[in-house]
């Protein structure tokens, strides 16, 4: 029985089903209260968690997102049930942490990770096409490094307790969300009263949606970055068929709900500074490729005991703090008193994205083995 389920999820229909379910859950979570075109966004939601913990003080984006907790714990459950939980680590952790920070800086310049780029496109936000083009460019550069022997070295098997640390941090976050303790007069936790951070589906729905996605994604190895990388590397469309299913199912549900509005500006929590949407996602895509997985995949890997993926995820959370504290994150276009305002990236943000790309390229060149 277990083997049969494993074979199904490893098959083409398996990953298409998983992608389709993820797309449907994401749009339904938007309907249930999550921000527009942000049913699930790994980067945005980790940024909200960073905000809730006070790692940044951008008042509009602070909330402990149960979806992230569900992603990891759903993956943990799947890995335990199918005997794939395996604690491992030790493959260049500091590099992975740095790549996590850079990936977040890039994603927040665009205002979303690859998952949200797909959901934005499914909602008619054409800036997402520019972002996805940038993502592809970043992955393409990463693939060139991979072809030339880039590697962060081997991980090794370690104590089971190592693999449990990140899932336990997620349990702790969930307890913080439920009990909402206050640490001092002006201290964390912080929960947004307005803005995207204040918009959320009921906790139970978010958690259940996250758990289901985590379970399916662990079984199918769903990865948005991997889908493009595998096409470029070996014309393998396996992962891409799942990602396409996500996009199509989310678009269909959006159409059914009448929630599609085509255009560049204004789009919800998005800006139309094309160059920086492109370069921001290029930085994110390159970072994901060098680290071996999209931000969602890193959470699922952490759930099955991969300490290196956990370090990358922690890097992303810290990166969100840096991004907002140093004013690097993109500002959305908006309408203030009937007048359209243009968002985009600050000068600091532009410098950070370009510098981030340079750091990634240095990592790609300097960490190669002759095969």
């Amino acid at each position: 029985m277990r083997n049969r389920i494993t074979l199904f999820f490893a098959s083409r229909p398996g990953i298409i089903l998983a992608g389709a379910v993820i797309g449907i859950i994401a749009v339904l979570l938007q309907k249930a209260g999550n921000p527009p075109n942000m049913g699930v966004c790994v980067a945005c939601f980790e940024r909200d968690i960073a905000g809730a913990l006070g790692l940044h003080r951008a008042a509009a984006v602070q909330y402990i997102r149960p979806e992230i907790i569900g992603f990891m714990l759903g993956s943990l459950v799947a890995a335990l049930l199918f005997r794939e939980f395996k604690a491992r680590g030790g493959s260049a952790p500091i590099v992975r942490f740095t790549l996590g920070i850079l990936a977040m800086i890039g994603a927040l310049a665009f205002l979303g990770c690859p998952w949200r780029a797909l959901l934005r496109l499914a909602g008619g936000d054409l800036n997402a096409i520019v972002g996805l083009a940038g993502l592809s460019a970043g992955i393409f550069i990463g693939v060139l490094f991979l072809k030339n022997g880039y590697t962060l070295g081997r991980s090794s098997k370690t104590y089971a307790s190592v693999g449990w640390i990140m899932p336990l941090i997620m349990v702790l976050l969930f307890l913080l969300l439920v009990f909402r303790p206050k640490f001092g007069e002006v201290g964390a936790l912080f929960f947004s009263e307005k803005g995207p951070g204040s918009m959320h589906a009921p906790v139970v729905l978010s958690l259940l949606g996250g758990l289901l996605i985590g379970f399916l994604a662990q079984r199918t190895r769903f990865c948005t970055m991997g889908s493009l990388r595998d096409i470029m590397l070996m014309k393998d469309f396996h992962l891409a068929s799942g990602v396409a299913a996500l996009l199509i199912s989310a678009a269909i549900v959006n159409f059914t709900l009448g929630a599609v509005r085509f255009g560049f500006s204004p789009q919800p929590i998005a800006h139309s500074a094309h160059v920086w949407n492109f370069l921001g996602m290029a930085l994110a895509g390159l970072s994901f490729t060098l680290a071996g997985g999209c931000p969602g995949r890193q959470l699922f890997l952490a759930g099955e005991g991969d300490g290196d993926a956990a370090i990358f995820a922690l890097g992303m959370i810290v990166g969100a703090g840096i991004s907002h504290n140093l004013n690097l994150a993109g500002k959305p276009d908006g309408i203030i008193e009937g007048v359209a305002t243009t968002g985009g990236l600050s000068a600091e943000g532009m410098v950070a994205v370009v510098a981030g790309l340079a750091v990634c390229i240095a990592i790609g060149f300097s960490m190669r083995e002759k095969w």
Binding site: K86, K147, T151, R221, M234, D236, G292
Partner: protein
């Protein structure tokens, strides 16, 4: 004869890249050792898509994939 590829502990997609390189060089049978189910599936899918035959042996929590033409 044949070639051995040790892909244990390597991140995705490096096991696949190494196995593919070995296939393109010929020298069958190729024995690829991996230590995650994900790598096992990925290497198997790539090898089968390249027209090879793949046998899998489990050894503890590692897997040996024997790739033949």
């Amino acid at each position: 004869m044949g070639k051995q590829v040790d892909a244990r502990g390597l991140s995705c997609p490096q096991p696949v890249i190494l196995a593919r390189k070995a296939i393109s060089e010929g020298n069958f049978p190729i024995e690829v050792t991996v230590d995650t189910v994900t790598s096992r599936e990925n290497v198997r899918r790539m090898a089968e898509n390249s027209g090879c035959r793949v046998g899998v042996e489990a050894a503890g929590d590692e897997f040996k994939l024997i790739i033949t033409q």
